[in-house]
């Protein structure tokens, strides 16, 4: 079971990232728990300069952009 966190205050990019991450997990058949982090202090605990951020198993893998399906699946594997 992977833990996936979406960091962001609910902006358009964060919703898009969440959708992309869910789709990537489903199509690769990977079970994952999704958590949305919207609290600013919790977000800045990770080293990022712009949202949305994607955290997989407590490691920040991308920030400030929306990665492609292929990239997300690479991180999830």
């Amino acid at each position: 079971m992977k833990s996936v966190k979406i960091l962001g205050s609910g902006c358009a990019n964060c919703r898009k990232l969440e959708a992309a991450a869910r789709e990537a997990a489903t199509s690769a058949g990977i079970e994952a728990e999704f958590v949305k982090v919207t609290d600013m202090n919790a977000i800045t605990a990770y080293d990022l300069l712009s949202t949305p951020g994607l955290v997989i198993d407590e490691k920040l893998v991308s920030s400030g952009r929306i990665p492609t399906q292929a990239e997300i699946q690479g991180w999830l594997a």
């Binding site: 902006c11 990019n13 600013m40 800045t44 300069l49 712009s50 952009r65």
Partner: protein
Amino acid sequence: MDIFLRSMSGGAGNLAAYLAAHVLLCLLPAFFIAGAMAALIPKASITRWLGRNAPYRVSYPAAAAAGSLLAVCSCTIVPLFAGIHKKGAGLGPAITFLFFAPAGNILALAYTGSILGAEFAFARFALSLLFGIGIGLMMAVLFWRDDASHDAQTDALFAQQASIGAAPLGVLLSLVAVLIAGTLKLWPLTATVGTLTLPLPWAEVWQAALYQWVPFDAAKGEEGVSLQGSLLILLLVLIGLIAWKGLEDIVEGANRWTWVALGLAAATLLVAAMRLTPVPGGVELALTGRALAVAAALGAVLHHARRLEADAWRAWLWEAWRFVKQIFVLLVVGVFVVGIVRQWIQPQWIENLAGRNDMLANAAAVLFGVFMYFPTLVEVPVAHMFLDLGMHRGPLLAYLMADPELSLQSILMVSAIIGRRKTFTYVGLVALFSIVAGLAYGAWVDGMERVWIIGGLGSFAAVLVTTLGWLLGRRAMPARV
């Protein structure tokens, strides 16, 4: 019923006039530039100057640069603000960044310039820069104890090094060239190279119909919709519809609609740069120097964009499209509402309150800015309305300085990160500095001796710097504010 109709037609007329006249040559390239800044400038190329050990001579200019180059939307402003404050250079540069971002970013400058004039945009830029750094320094000095008690954090966030590549830089510069070629009102851009009369008999009828649908009163500063304007609105709507199909999933790759949307956007810019005038029996198409310059700049954009890597240009187009979705909708609604409201405000009210450049007028303008919340960029059409209604340009600038910097949203956000006491100090300082900015610019407009204004601002800055230098010297601390 009559009242309702009058309001609605005021709103629709305002919207049509804005879309036709102002939006295209400034906002369309500006959205692409904002997208390119968000996607193509590596944040580390600027943020590496914001680390914990950066001296203040470096960190304040870098914070201002970050505000104007990196922070086009709140998804960058908030995390970067929190990051600079907590893990980077400290409270002062964080405040400079926060203050300068809404006034110094490309969308705000382009839009202010095209609606209120280049001089006004420049004043907004220069005074925000000066005062952003001033307020940052004052906050840092007032609260230096809190800053000194940073807990042991790593410098990792701001230690990364990066620089912008040749292709992204080329794209950015040629986009800026499109913006400049499209908006600057200078010879040879305004010169006519050649004219061509197209035999379109319906053109005159159409123009007459447009003036009837969107009646306007030039004395009140209202604008009508021209034939060319109506063509541009049509093109805009088309781009909007097609971009929805072409750009929504651009991250996964381009499709045929992507190229149609981009082609239409380029065509729109070219049409806007030409001059279409209805003449008896047809339309006179004038090829201007502007059209040639825009075409050349667009060619340069294409040339550089082809050298971008696939995920770079996809990210660029996505960010540009996201800004359009996020800001354009608000702007359309805002302009519409401004058009309605304007029917109900008597010019005398504005003239009595803020028709002069004095302390009271500037204070009233700032107060209005603090308590009114307008979404991104809507402050500009609001300011335009006030200007038409007789507001003096000094208080107008004071309002424009205070409004975006002190929205309720930003006050809440700032107080969540730095606490209430510092936030209230910040709000107070912004109000004070905005009034000073309004007074100074108003005096400039009124034709006061330039020497006096520059001398006044200079001594204001000098007193500030001396006080700070003295305070900094007194505390036996590394000079990191």
